[in-house]
Symmetry: C2
Subunit: 415 residues, 2 copies
Amino acid sequence: MDFENIAKTAKTAALGIADISADLKNSALLKIADNLEKDKAKIFEANKKDLTDAESLVISGEISKSTFNRLKLDENKMRDMIQGIRDVAKLEDPVNKKLFVRELDEGLTLYKVSCPIGVLGIIFEARPDVIAQISSLAIKSANAVILKGGKESINTNKTVLGIINETLDSIDGFPKNVLQQVFTRDDVAQMLKCDKYINLIIPRGGNKLVKYIKENTKIPVLGHADGICHIFADETADLEMAIKVIVDAKTQYPSACNSVETLLIHEKFPETEKLLAALQLAEIKLVDNPDTWAFEHGDTTLAFKKVKNLDEAIEHINTYGSGHTDSIITKNIENAEKFMNKVDSAGVYFNASTRFADGFRYGLGAEVGISTNKTHARGPVGLEGLTIYKYKLIGQGHIVKDYVDGTKHFHHKDI
Amino acid sequence: MDFENIAKTAKTAALGIADISADLKNSALLKIADNLEKDKAKIFEANKKDLTDAESLVISGEISKSTFNRLKLDENKMRDMIQGIRDVAKLEDPVNKKLFVRELDEGLTLYKVSCPIGVLGIIFEARPDVIAQISSLAIKSANAVILKGGKESINTNKTVLGIINETLDSIDGFPKNVLQQVFTRDDVAQMLKCDKYINLIIPRGGNKLVKYIKENTKIPVLGHADGICHIFADETADLEMAIKVIVDAKTQYPSACNSVETLLIHEKFPETEKLLAALQLAEIKLVDNPDTWAFEHGDTTLAFKKVKNLDEAIEHINTYGSGHTDSIITKNIENAEKFMNKVDSAGVYFNASTRFADGFRYGLGAEVGISTNKTHARGPVGLEGLTIYKYKLIGQGHIVKDYVDGTKHFHHKDI
C-alpha cells in the first residue's frame, strides 16, 4: 500500500474509532497487555535479532553504544511496558468530556465536548518500548496513528505491533487499521507532506530528529528540539538549597531534556565561590564560555555566568533558552514572581529542580511528550494533548433570523 | 525598519505586555475608545481618501463593488467599532487564570496558569473596522501583534492605528511597540517565514487569502479557508422545521462562512418535493450537480443530493465538507447522536441553523475567528484562543532524586 493510501485508511480508521466506548477501549488495552505478556518470548526473539544486526553497526560506528543499549528490551523494560498499558487503561477517558454546557436560549443548548484529533503521525528512534506506549495512548484517546520507528528496532516493532493488531482485530466492534506502521525514509518524507490526512506529528527522539521534522512540515508538531534549562541563583539564594537543587538538576539524569545547562548567578550573591566549589565537588564540570549559552550539553557540563540583576537573568533566559523549564533560587518572593511571569518558558520554577518537568511528576497520568510550542499544548503533555473539542448544538428548529430581528434574545446560561 | 527588526521588536513588546495588570489593559482600551471617538473626523477624512482612491479601482475592475462597500466607514460602523472596544474592556481577563492548582507533595505546588501566546501576525483585507477590533483583542489577551491590512484601506488603517498607538504611548507603564503595522506584499512573505518570532498567524478575509497563507507558512494559522456547511434532512425530519432552518441557513446571510451549501435528503423522507418547492419559493436556487459538492457558493445557490441513509450522509459530509458546521434535522434522537459523534466538524448541530456558528452567539464574548483546525482552537474562537498556559512550580528546595530514591512520594492533590 502506498503512503497516500495508508493515510487515507488512517483517516477512515480515525472516524471509526472516534466514538467507540471507553469500555471497549479499556478492554482492548487490557487484552493487548495480556497478549504481549503471553507472547513475550516471541518479542524477545525479535529483539535479539535486532540486537544481532545492530552489533555490526556499533562496530562499524553507524550507531552508538547508547543507541544499542536503548534498543535492548530486557525483562524490566518488558514488565514496565506491559504495566504502562494497564496503567493507561485505568486513566480517565480523555474524550467525550463536557468542557462546558451552555443554554444559549430556551431549548437551544451548546455542548463543548472533547474529542480525538484524528490521525497522528509518530516518528520515533530505536526504542522498542515506545511502540506499545504510543499505541496505548492512541487507543485511549481514540486517535488513529501511523508509526515510523527507528530501523534498528524493525523486528521488535513488527512483532509488538503485530501482536497488538492481532488483538484488536479479534475484538468485535473495534475499527480496523487504527494502528499502522511504515518503514522507509521515503514514508517519513511523505508523512511530513501529508497535511490532508495527518493532523499532528509527534517525534520521539533526539533534537536532530525533532529539528528536521519541525523544519520540514506544515503539520503541527508536538515536541521540543532543545532543552536548554537555566537555574538563576538570586542575590538572596540559600546556599545549601542552591547546591542541592543545582546538583539534582544537573546530575540526577544529565541527558534528560529537563536537566539544567546554564547557571546564572547574581553578582551580589555572597557565596558564589562556595557554590561553585560545591558543584565541582559533585563532579559537575563548570564552563564559562558564551559559545555554550544556547547549547544542550547532555552531560555533567554546566555553563555559568554572573549577571548584574534579575532583569539580566530574565533577558538571558529569554534570549538563549529554549522555552522549556527554568528555575529561580531565592528568598525574595517578589523576584520569584517577576521571574515566573517574565520568563517565557513552559515551566517556570521557584526553589525547585528543573527535573520536575515531566507528565507523571505533574500528575498528568501519562506523558505524550514535552512541548515548547506556544499553541495547543505546552510543557509536559498528557492525554489531553491528543484531544481537541467539537461544539454540539441542540435546538428545536432554532434559526438565527429571530435573534437578528430581536424577536428572541440569547441568555447564555452555563448549566 | 526591516521586517526582521519589526518582528524582534514585537517579541520584546510581547515579553513586556505579558504580565501587565488587567486594570492597565482595560483602562488603555477605554482611553483608546475615547480617543477614537474624539478623533472621528480625522478617521472619516482618511477613509474618504481611501474611498476616492478606490473609486478608480472599481472602474478599472481591480476591486469589486462589494470590496468598495466594505471599505466604507460610516457612522454606524464607527459607533460599533468604538463600542466593540468598550465591550472587550468589560470581558473577563483571559490571562493569569489558574487552570489548576495541584499539590505534588508537601510544600511543592504546581500552578497551570493561562498566559498570552506571544506575537501574532494578523493579515486582513480592506475592512477598516478590523484594525481596531484586533488591536483591542490583542491588548486584552496581552499579545503583541504585527498587522498587515488591505492596501485599499491604508489611510484609514494608518490613522486608526496612529490614534491607538498615541494613546498607548501616553499611558505610564504600557510597553512600547505592542501594535505595529506593515504595508507591503514583501512584508507578508517575510511574516510567513518568520517562525522564529511569530507564534500565530490569523488571516481575516476571503478563502483565497486564507488558503494562500496556510499553504505558505509553517507558523500555526488560526482560521478556515472554506465554509462548506451541510444540512441533512433525515427520514423523520419535520417538514416545517426543515424549511425554516434551511431557509435561515441559506438566506439569512448567504455570503457568511456558516451558511449552508449542500442539502442532503434521506431518500425515504416522504416530503422531499414539498421541501424543495418551499425552498424555491424562498428564492433559493437549487442545483443538483456533483461538481459543486466541495464548493462554497456564497450566494443563495444550494446544492442538494438524495442519500440512502444516515451513513451516506455522514460519509458525504466527511468527504466533501470543510469541517466547519453541519446540521441534522430529525425526530430520531439516536440518529442525531450518531450524526453529532461521527461528523468530524467543529460544529455538529441537531435541529438548528448552521448560522449559529459564531463567537458572540456561543457566548464567548468576542470572536477572534472561526477555526477548522484540529489542534489548539476549533470552531468560533474567543479570547481564550489567543492564550496558552505555563506551569509555575513553587517548592522549598525540592529535588527529583528524593522521589526516584523513594525517600519521598508524590501525592498529587488538586486544591
